[in-house]
Symmetry: C2
Subunit: 438 residues, 2 copies
Amino acid sequence: MNDARGGQPITLDRWLGHYALRASGLSASEVRALFAVASRPEVVSLAGGMPYVRALPEDLVRSALESVMTNEGPSALQYGSGQGVPRLREQILDVMALEGISASMDNVVVTTGSQQALDLVTKLFIDPGDVILAEAPSYVGAIGVFRSYEAHVVHVLTDHDGLVPEALREAIAQLRQEKKRIKFLYTIPNFHNPAGVTLSAERRPEILAICQENDILILEDNPYGLLSFDQPVPPALRSLDEDGVIYLGSFSKTLAPGFRVGWALAPHAIREKLVLAAEAAILCPSSFSQMVISEYLAQADWRGQIDEFRGVYRERRDAMLGALDEHLPDLAWNIPQGGFYIWVDLPEQLDSKAMLPRAVTELVAYTPGTAFFADGGGRHNLRLSFSYPTPENIRVGIRRLATVIQGEQDLLDTFAGTGILSLPSVSENVTAPPPDMS
Amino acid sequence: MNDARGGQPITLDRWLGHYALRASGLSASEVRALFAVASRPEVVSLAGGMPYVRALPEDLVRSALESVMTNEGPSALQYGSGQGVPRLREQILDVMALEGISASMDNVVVTTGSQQALDLVTKLFIDPGDVILAEAPSYVGAIGVFRSYEAHVVHVLTDHDGLVPEALREAIAQLRQEKKRIKFLYTIPNFHNPAGVTLSAERRPEILAICQENDILILEDNPYGLLSFDQPVPPALRSLDEDGVIYLGSFSKTLAPGFRVGWALAPHAIREKLVLAAEAAILCPSSFSQMVISEYLAQADWRGQIDEFRGVYRERRDAMLGALDEHLPDLAWNIPQGGFYIWVDLPEQLDSKAMLPRAVTELVAYTPGTAFFADGGGRHNLRLSFSYPTPENIRVGIRRLATVIQGEQDLLDTFAGTGILSLPSVSENVTAPPPDMS
């Protein structure tokens, strides 16, 4: 119970025997302490998945705020509908139309970030021990939610074209044989966090067919889909199947996360339950936040602003790829066509978690691959994010990372065969880094 | 699955067999449809617990918004700490000091309204079947959350001085005998929703002692404490016991609910788990909302503004009490010393739920007492809220209510003994009305 961040004394927890069973799924990572160090300005953080909100012109936000106060003051300050502001739900249809989705605003539920939609869907479907299928690797924040409801997360092989259909089929067959209840497939089809890959157009109908045959719901999480660098992403899974998919969207990456506004689009019967669950959890999402976003969408050239963001992130991706080519030519990584992330394979003998303290000492931070697996995988991977640091800082960061990796390899070469090879491990049960780092 | 509001066709739910067990605790009330009718402008609603945000000068909000944009633009738009903005957590200490609480900002967690704190605490402590003790009646939104985690809510007798210590003792003894696991006591000690009563200063240490003896945690929910009409409330339970109480506070009633900002103050070990649960649920609360409130607290005379609100609500309470005296002199009700609510006892033969459609026809709405019980109680009670309508509308509403009640009684008198006495019931399982009505 020692809080490494706050320096609080170790105290016994008087209520230790009182927690629910699910509370044991909530464990703090010791990496948190490291990330606290990593947030010092001299450290180049390639760890966080923060959007670069400075690319959003301030006057667009000011103008939306002004309209809200002038036109909707009292209702922006008041409680609202648990499902969300109708006008915003209607505008969300326009956003989703960009990825081929046609829907009714009646089936949209506005949430406190799409993270809350993840939470509500999990609450609605998962009994302890139920299986959730997910890519290998998967989003750290989703794994955190799934654990908090005592789900059993089963990772499915994922390659450069996304989830591998044959592997999905096999995983389902295996789990069925074990009499496990599979509740849903959680997937991030576009510019995956952390893998950076996109599910190919060819595989989409196949994944849908497999889930349909097996009566498995799909939870399609799509925060990055509009942030493509070259060509648009293939049609959303939801655009191909109205009844079998819950689709999650977010304004956190295409506008700003500080308002905490995301949404779920769900089949009607599920949507009804989602609203009840949302009301139980928070009564209603922030009227003020919703109305600011609604005014922004009504006034600003939001499609043009997304193009701006695309340009910013494309430049940063290129800076990172260039620096990786230059400084770490022996490693393997993917080339993301959008989004925020590059997934790096380390040599077998390197442990990304064990290496992190040394990286932070060298003033660079990344997220160890283990954060993205529920089963201990990912030790030889790390996730690099290019969304927040400037191109120059990205180059500095990769140079430092190369120094760290080189140092680790030299160390290993020196002591190879001496039996004192084991590197100090930060923690055996790394879970989620703090959210602003994910 | 028919949605009475949207006029959607009845559809089969393909995913019916897939929900978690807890999802059965989420049921929509048929009263929802009625409340939709009741939100028409010609209806005087005494049902909602909405604060009168028009009493908040608009320029105070504008000025806070301006400061946020000028001083903290990019960080207000960005992800933040899962625990909440440090400056706001520090200011929250000043708010709680008004009720005698001394605490460390390290133990404060900012939440999306205090409703989210209720959700997180329940998630952290409740396994299916665990008991939560609560006043009789209790807050409809809390009952909703408790049900959504399959808690067993046991109501404890409550009188004009709040929770009755002897009844609490007996309930605990009885439950212990039945080998039930009691997880916490949920209480609203000040200007109770819906009962309107305040736990007396004499009973506070007694309630604390009973819980301490029995190793029962207290969840103290205090959204209305600062809205006293005459004299301040007795010290908060949390001010008398640091380790045994989780305290929930909110800016929804003292500033505006549209920002969705509340907080929990918890013993340190519980606080750590609460932050992890909060991060799983929403990553972090809205930076923007938190910073607006923080600027408001820094710039405005917020204590003076709370005095303004007090004046507004005192005048409305008086209007309601006067109208009740005039039009319904035979009924019984409490005289609240603060807050938003009056709890009315109807004659035994009247059913508040069955009467509601007739009330709405007469253009007045209230909340039936059954919404505030987990066990079917409250049929002969109703809750009237005086927070939102003007004094004049309150008088109109009570006059209409008197007509309805008189009509019901006449009907009963006419048909007494004829065997056709039973009134049509809206629904046998009334649960929560929609949140903006609670």
